[in-house]
């Protein structure tokens, strides 16, 4: 798979950075590819806009930033509005939380996949795993990384006591796409 | 190096400073002016080292810059002459890297309380296990007599030609507030008491601070027409008041005013290293990789005591007001010790 560029956006506290980290780790550590995760740092705190960016490639990554987004994962309206114009109109993929984002008619051949991630997370009793539901869903929808690699990345990136919960969230998101 | 001098035709007598064992006599004569108080303070300190029985190899001296900063160069111990104001952080690193060391900062009032003031207060707050000797001559000597944070109001210096007007630091008050374990002040006339305080400070766990008021006749006294070296000693004699345990809020020093001296603070607080160990042991338990050696353990382990100090001929000056606060200070000790 050639170079792919992913933007993940939402607000602070949704686990946006962790989501990027998990995809990046899945690719670089468990999928034998290269990945670079960057994030915009600012004095922002919880509740304000937040984004992470990921490049995944078969080859060593020189330029580590996004030039044209292939996948946009938007968990907030603000983030969606800020980054939607970056998304490649020719085959780009938009993943969004249905309850947070209402996408407009998009130009070109952008594929859109909505998931009620916050609601699915609440069904597991913990809204905090919303982002992991998204990881599962996006793994299925984008084939960015192998499912097994993504699972391992989730498993190795969350606190030990919460591994089971997070894996359930991952599966729930993955299955939601399959259904 | 020992100097030899022919005293009679045909006979050679070896002339040795009584503290030659701890002085770099190959670096003498020193740079200090005649009647400067630093040499006297250093002599008391060296005597205290011997009394403390701390092995010489376990002591390190760190100085900043200035007249007193030169002390590091004259003491035959591991000694570091660093940059202006930075002796305390250097000493902090040295201590934390080798807990066995007794680390002493020996510097002046400008070095410690102006440019190094931030380090001074934080080292006291941490109760870092070091001893700080501050020779306070109320002025910047090395650079030619400028005002210091310790210069009392109305004193003339080269940068306060019409008289100083900024309020001066009351160093014991400052150090008490920051959390020092031991705070004492003497003048260079109080050689026995100063020596005793140095000894106590060296053996005190935690941050100990001894302020030694010392004359600068070349600059401070001359600019303020305070007379000769003898006059300065006479002033200390007549105007010092010994008050152990005095309220540190009341020991500020005005221009040519009473100098309250004594041991003001002597209390036990856990040191930075103790707290560091305690906290990590409490939270990490067995996983904490502890550097075992503490000064106490090191001192205990060392039986080899250095030779004791030489006889001291100078008599202590100052009158004892008898107003011993008793809270923090010990009893007056005029009969103490190994003096001849």
């Amino acid at each position: 798979m050639p170079r792919r560029e992913i933007r993940i956006t939402g607000y602070g506290g949704q686990g946006i950075i962790l989501t990027g980290y998990i995809f990046g780790k899945a690719a670089a550590i468990f999928d034998d590819r290269y990945s670079t995760m960057t994030q915009s740092f600012g004095p922002e705190a919880r509740g304000s806009a937040c984004a992470s960016a990921l490049v995944v490639d078969e080859e060593v990554i020189a330029y580590p930033y996004l030039r044209q987004t292939d996948v946009l994962i938007a968990l907030s309206r603000e983030g969606y509005e800020k980054y939607i114009d970056e998304l490649n109109q020719d085959g780009g993929i938009l993943i969004y939380d249905q309850d947070m984002v209402e996408p407009q008619e998009l130009k070109g051949t952008i594929k859109m996949y909505g998931v009620p991630a916050a609601r699915l997370a609440e069904e597991l009793g913990k809204r905090i795993v919303q982002n992991i539901v998204v990881v599962g869903f996006a793994t299925a929808a984008t084939q960015l990384v192998a499912k097994d690699a993504a699972r391992k990345a989730v498993e190795s990136s969350v606190p030990e006591a919460l591994i089971d919960l997070n894996l359930q969230a991952f599966e729930k998101g993955y299955e939601y796409f399959d259904n | 190096m020992t100097q030899t001098k022919t005293t009679q035709p045909g006979s050679e007598q070896e002339l040795k400073h009584p503290q030659d064992h701890l002085l770099r006599s190959d670096r003498l004569p020193h740079i200090w002016c005649a009647t400067c108080g630093i040499g006297t303070v250093l002599k008391c300190f060296i005597e205290a080292i011997d009394r403390s029985k701390i092995p010489y190899d376990d002591i390190a001296i760190v100085s900043g810059i200035g007249c007193t900063g030169r002390v590091a160069g004259y003491v035959k111990l591991d000694s570091y002459h660093t940059t202006h104001g930075r002796a305390i952080p250097f000493a902090t690193g040295l201590k934390l890297a080798n807990r066995r060391l007794k680390v002493v900062v020996f510097s002046g009032d400008g070095d410690l309380s102006a440019i190094g003031g931030n380090h001074l207060i934080h080292a006291a707050r941490r109760n870092m296990d070091i001893t700080v000797v501050c020779v306070n001559n109320f002025i910047y000597g090395m650079t030619g007599g400028q005002a210091a944070p310790t210069t009392p109001g109305t004193a003339v210096t080269s940068t306060t030609p019409w008289g100083a007007f900024e309020p001066a630091f009351n160093l014991p008050q400052l150090l008490e507030a920051c959390g020092a374990s031991y705070v004492a002040r003497w003048t260079s006339l109080h050689v026995r008491r100063l020596t005793k305080s140095f000894t106590e400070a060296l053996l005190k766990k935690g941050f100990s601070f001894v302020e030694a008021i010392a004359p600068c006749s070349t600059l401070y006294a001359r600019r303020n027409r305070l007379g000769s070296g003898y006059d300065l000693m006479k002033f200390y004699h007549d105007h010092s008041e010994i008050r152990h345990g005095a309220d540190v809020n009341e020991v500020d020093i005005g221009f040519q005013d009473k100098i309250t001296v004594g041991k003001f603070i002597d209390r036990d607080r856990p040191t930075w290293l103790e707290l560091n160990d305690q906290q990590h042991e409490a939270t990490l338990g067995e996983k904490y990789y502890r550097h075992a050696e503490t000064i106490a353990a090191a001192a205990e382990a060392d039986a080899a005591a250095p030779p004791t100090g030489t006889a001291e001929k100078t008599q202590d000056g100052g009158k004892d007001s008898g107003k011993d606060g008793g809270k923090n200070g010990g009893k007056d000790d005029s009969k103490e010790g190994s003096h001849a």
């Binding site: 980290y21 990046g24 780790k25 670089a28 550590i29 290269y34 990945s35 670079t36 995760m37 960057t38 994030q39 740092f41 600012g42 004095p43 990554i61 020189a62 330029y63 580590p64 930033y65 | 770099r24 670096r27 010489y56 190899d57 376990d58 390190a60 760190v62 810059i65 590091a72 160069g73 111990l77 591991d78 000694s79 570091y80 002459h81 660093t82 940059t83 930075r86 305390i88 952080p89 250097f90 902090t92 690193g93 040295l94 201590k95 934390l96 890297a97 080798n98 066995r100 060391l101 931030n118 380090h119 934080h122 930075w272 560091n276 990590h280 990490l284 996983k287 904490y288 990789y289 550097h291």
Partner: protein, 386 residues
């Protein structure tokens, strides 16, 4: 060569940012003392150290400022520790006087600067490369310094180990000139087995107390070290000093000392310098870069080659000492150097000096906040090649 202690080394593949990788490099190198002060974007380095060191064996202390931090690590080095401090622009400025003390006392230590945009408070959370000259010249007086510039979290790890090795070998402060991009960029970092990590040990004196002269040197001009408490009862001073460590205020001793402080590094430039070259054999144009900019440059060079341009790439892993001889020789056979930097022209001055008119030198400045647009570098390559 000594080997790393397995207890310090987090062997395995990790997904780490450059700051955290730097901490792991320090730990692998045996660093057991850091004094630091929080400053964005470097704080993660000390945060990780503070978390890791109590179970590894060593001390972290958060000092009252950066002046105290640099000075405390110098003291700790003389107490026998392997030491590092970490900062960014404003803190780096505060450290300068005592970086000079480190050079003067020939104290092995590592100083990490995760560069951000300046001057002054500038861009605390965004990238800059404008401290490169300060790294070389920031403290007063003449001295030489070693500075390394990683381009990835992996190199933040390996070059931090290298920094410790160089510091010990040459008894000098060594700087790791990270930048905000590398510091906050997360990539795979492979940490090898401890026994495959080579460490340069501090060369201690074998002289007994009484015979040891702290600044006496042999042919390599690097004195053997002794720590406080080892019985030598020496004197170490920031004043100009002789072999014994005693202050001597004379032009003669000054000449001898300053020459040695500089030459012990200058004369070993070829040995110290690490650089990466790519396609220089038939290059007309060379893009010279370091740190994050080298990755942007690489993207531009790849694009230029696709267009059939003869363009080579030269990346400096060692920024100081500057590879003078190498650049001089290269200038004989290329048409131009293109030098992109996230500053208004710093290392380009060295390139220009060494090229001395034999090749054109083209600065591509970028003031910071983000990296160059690769298209700008590509355009400069095209112009230089035509």
């Amino acid at each position: 060569m000594a080997r790393a202690d397995p207890g310090h080394v987090l062997t395995g593949s990790h997904y780490l940012d450059g700051d955290h990788a730097c901490t792991e490099g320090a730990l692998s190198a045996g660093c057991n003392f850091i004094a630091g002060y929080p400053i964005t974007p470097s704080t993660e380095v000390v945060e990780r150290f503070a978390r890791r060191i109590p179970t590894v064996g060593g001390t972290f202390i958060q000092m009252e400022d950066e002046i105290a931090s640099i000075t405390a690590i110098l003291g700790a080095a003389w107490g026998g520790a392997k030491v590092m401090t970490v900062t960014s622009g404003p803190g780096f400025s505060l450290m300068m006087e005592n970086i000079g003390l480190g050079a003067m006392l020939e104290t092995p230590c590592v100083i990490v600067n995760v560069q951000r945009g300046g001057p002054s408070t500038g861009l605390p959370t965004m990238v800059g490369q404008a401290d490169i000259m300060q790294a070389r010249w920031g403290s007063h007086g003449d001295y030489e310094i070693i500075a390394l510039a990683p381009q990835s979290p992996q190199e933040a790890y390996t070059l931090t180990i290298e920094a410790f090795n160089l510091a010990e070998k040459y008894r000098t402060p060594v700087m790791v000139m990270l930048d905000e991009c590398i510091g906050h960029m997360t990539e795979k970092v492979v940490i090898p087995e401890a026994d495959s990590i080579e460490l340069t040990e501090r060369r201690k004196t074998d002289k007994p107390p009484g015979e040891y002269l702290p600044f006496a040197v042999g042919e390599d001009m690097i004195p053997d070290m002794a720590h406080a408490g080892e019985g030598h009862r020496y004197h170490i001073t920031s004043l100009t000093h002789d072999e014994q460590g005693y202050p001597v205020m004379s032009a003669e001793v000054q000449d001898k000392l300053v020459r040695r402080l500089c030459d012990k590094i200058r004369n070993n430039t070829d040995e110290i310098v690490m650089l990466e070259e790519d396609g220089l054999d038939d290059a007309d144009v060379v893009v010279l870069s370091y740190g994050i900019t080298s990755r942007v440059a690489r993207a531009a060079v790849d694009d230029a080659r696709e267009k059939g341009l003869k363009v080579g790439r030269l990346r400096l892993l060692t920024v100081w000492p500057f590879p003078e001889r190498y650049i001089r020789e290269l200038a004989e056979r290329v048409k131009a150097f293109v030098v992109p930097e996230i500053n208004y022209g710093q290392l380009v001055l060295e390139v220009e000096r060494c090229a001395a008119g034999r090749a054109q030198t083209i600065l591509l400045p970028h003031m910071g906040g983000d990296v160059h647009d690769p298209a700008v570098i590509l355009q400069a390559i095209e112009e230089a090649a035509s």
